[in-house]
Amino acid sequence: MLDGIRILDLSEEPGFLAGKILGDLGADVVKLEPPGGDRFGRRGPYLGEVADPERSLRWLALNTSKRGITLALATPRGRELFGRLAARADVLLETAAPGALEALGLGWETLRAERPRLVWCSLTPFGRTGPYAGFRAHDLVLVAMGGNAALTGDPDRAPVRCTLPTSYYAAGPEAAAGIAMALYARERSGHGQLVDISMQECQLATLVTAPGQYSLSPQLRGRTGARLGGTREIWRAKDGDVSFGLRGGAARIPSLVATVAWMAEEEMAPAWLSELDWKNYNHNLLSAEEIARLEGAFSAFFATKTRRELFEQALARRIMLAPCNDSREILEQPQLRSRGLFTTLEYPEFGARIEHPDFFAKSSRGRIGIRRRAPRLGEHNAEIYGELGIDADGLRELASQGVI
């Protein structure tokens, strides 16, 4: 969908996903690393347990469909080359601290003067301007400042985050969307623009309007563990956790009725539950005792079943219940496999094949998806610098000067 669009991608880990999305959508993403490689972005764990930046699984997972070059922006020659690369680009994607590129003479104002059609996407923790623009943050601080941590975790312990950086995963598609929107606008206006993404602000969408609801009735919810809005959302099955809810109004009731019918077949539905008046059921009106009674009955039933047994019946009986899958279970999930979500990439130099989630969207205009594996360090220097008329001798010279 974005064929022919050249994206110069300077981003570090928080921007990996944004660039990958654009590449998977067909853009020509050129990933720029310092000559020594992105040491943090290429950290372990490693393929084959060999500590080698080329084997970083994080890197391999999140940099598909990009080509890779090296360039030292700290050198004058590097900055000159950057200017020439930027002049050929439609989009610049970067995660530098506000002011850092300006300090090198490579700021937005400078580049736009030379190339008014350039779309510049800046992905930073708090945005490019404002009182916290200079604050530093990776995922943990972002989920804290963005409001999600305060609501995540058990009430008797500290707030928690996910094991993987979900704040980057929220910001990645937001940045990619901002870039696509700016490209659309450019088709009509002829001009590029600055797309300023705040990762903190992206986090607030995960609260699904909780701040607005608080502005209406100021009561802080706090952390409620496996519960949501007063009722349980995550339940213990025989072999792990499942998601199932008592709230949601009319849309949820058929699922509750079907669950109780199944329990009755197995003689695990108490009489009061079988006789419950579902027509007038409203989760907002349940007393604490009623909630405890309902949760007790469902908990007792779920505890006798494995997650697989529960999900099979959920599918057959149209019950809104799902297993809390781990990553190996996801790889084997039949629905995801039937849609061809996973694609295998070859890593012959390591004798390895790895399954990756492919780009998921199915278009009537043909396949959208991963087009190449993540680049090795400087893998495409010859191709990209060749466009600037730099030949093999020139590349050797640049390498000897530490520019690439």
Binding site: M1, G44, R58, G127, G130, R136, H138, L140, A144, G146, G147, A149, D154, A158, V160, T163, Y169, E174, A177, A180, M181, L183, Y184, A185, G190, H191, L194, D196, L204, A205, V208, T209, S215, L216, L220, G222, A226, I234, D241, V242, G248, A250, P254, S255, N282, R318, C324, N325, S327, R328, I330, L331, Q335, L341, F342, I354, P357, F360, A361, K362
Partner: protein, 405 residues
């Protein structure tokens, strides 16, 4: 060149569906000048209109705060799609639209005769996106579920919480906030493609798959080394301290993340804790990871009496990553969010003053706008149907026949 009317001035989007995942996606366009018309019905109302409903609530379908907050800048027409005349209205609106975005379960649109094959004949160049939990194809496509189930299947729930406890899941049914960003991206990319080629397209999105794709690192680690990532509290593989520490006040906390030995020295200095800096157990990053429990215990002693906001400023000034665990009350007063204009106060005719929110993008050439709260059901029947050729008499008879309901 400034485009004060918005990037999407003149764009027309027809939205069918309910809940969060569908309606959030079109917000991006509505806030940048597109006209977004929701086709909905009181016969089978959007469940968000009733999520907080109690019998006796005076505003019924129009007083649901979550619906109102999630659907600003949109127009609502009430159309009963179980009546043939209702389908006629929907088809007329498709003729008006550039984009159709829907998030019903897979068979619904075809059942009404509103599938892409038919709609594109009516409207060449149409862009249509369907986004349901599991996608339009496959053996489990009819599985019913909310975002909570989507987050569980996609793997988010398993990754949040403490290793010795049940999963808690990141708050907020994460696929409901994640999948709309991808749908907005795909609509924008399809518009870009149409602008260049004149071609429309149909796109099928599974909300769960947007989650699995985002968690690519977990899948690749599982495939490459058989690793099953799980919840680990706030532990990180490559940083210590990396935790959330208690502060002075009820349920007040601060997040602190230290990635290098230099940052560790700065943290000790900013906390006035030279003893910690000298402690050999904590000297190097690898040592701190080994002794993480003792490290966290030592830091808790130094944070628990401190005011979190002042501590954050002190640590950030020293070059240490730190951030207050902000509550909704904190967010509404956050000076950085205020600087970006994140919250906008709008008056809703039934609920009064409410704070509406923007998404995370600021465009330099086009400020985002929030002008009207989520609409009442059918609030714009006259205006919208009038703009596609129905006269007042026809509209009145459609109301009387229960079609506009």
């Amino acid at each position: 060149m400034s485009v004060p009317e918005g990037l999407f001035q003149g764009l027309k989007i027809l939205e069918l569906g309910a809940g969060a995942a569908g309606p959030v996606a079109t917000r991006y366009f509505a806030d940048q000048g597109a006209t977004v018309v929701r086709v909905e019905s009181g016969v089978r109302p959007d469940f968000l209109r009733l999520l907080h409903f109690r019998p006796g609530d005076p505003h019924g379908l129009n007083g649901g705060p979550m619906f109102v907050l999630m659907n600003p800048n949109k127009l609502s027409v009430a159309v009963n799609l179980s009546k043939p005349e209702g389908i006629e209205v929907a088809l007329r609106l498709v003729g008006w639209a550039d984009v159709v975005s829907e998030n019903f379960s897979p068979r619904a649109m075809a059942k009404w005769g509103l599938e892409y094959q038919r709609l594109r004949e009516l409207k060449p160049g149409l862009i249509m996106v369907s986004s349901c939990l599991f996608g339009q194809t496959g053996p489990q496509r009819m599985y019913p579920g909310f975002g909570g189930q989507g987050s569980a299947i996609a793997g988010f729930n398993h990754l949040a919480g403490w290793p010795d406890r049940e999963a808690v899941g990141p708050s907020g049914t994460i696929t409901d906030s994640l999948s709309p960003r991808y749908v907005a991206l795909l609509i924008a990319a399809a518009l870009f493609h149409r602008e260049r080629t004149g071609e429309g397209q149909y796109i099928d999105v599974s909300q769960i798959e947007t989650g699995v794709y985002s968690l690519s690192e977990a899948i690749v680690r599982a495939s490459a080394r058989g690793e099953v990532m799980t919840r680990r509290g706030n532990h990180a593989e490559d940083a210590a301290p990396h935790a959330i520490y208690p502060c002075a006040g009820p349920d007040r906390w601060i997040a602190i993340a230290v990635f290098s030995d230099e940052e560790w020295r700065r943290l000790c200095e900013a906390l006035g804790a030279p003893g910690l800096a000298r402690d050999p157990r904590f000297a190097r990053a690898a040592d701190r990871l080994v002794h993480e429990e003792a490290l966290d215990a030592a830091l808790v002693e130094r944070t628990r009496a401190l005011e979190p906001d002042a501590l954050m400023h002190r640590l950030q000034a020293a070059g240490v990553e730190a951030g207050v665990v902000q509550t909704c009350a904190d967010l509404l007063q956050d000076p950085q969010l205020a600087h970006r204009g994140h919250f906008v106060r709008l008056r809703h005719r039934h609920l009064g003053d409410l704070r509406f929110e923007h998404y995370g993008i600021c465009f330099s050439e086009s400020p985002r706008r929030l002008e009207t709260p989520g609409p009442d059901l059918g609030e714009h029947n006259l205006r919208v149907l009038g703009s596609v050729g129905y006269d007042e008499l026809e509209i009145r008879s459609l109301v009387e026949a229960g079609v506009l309901a």
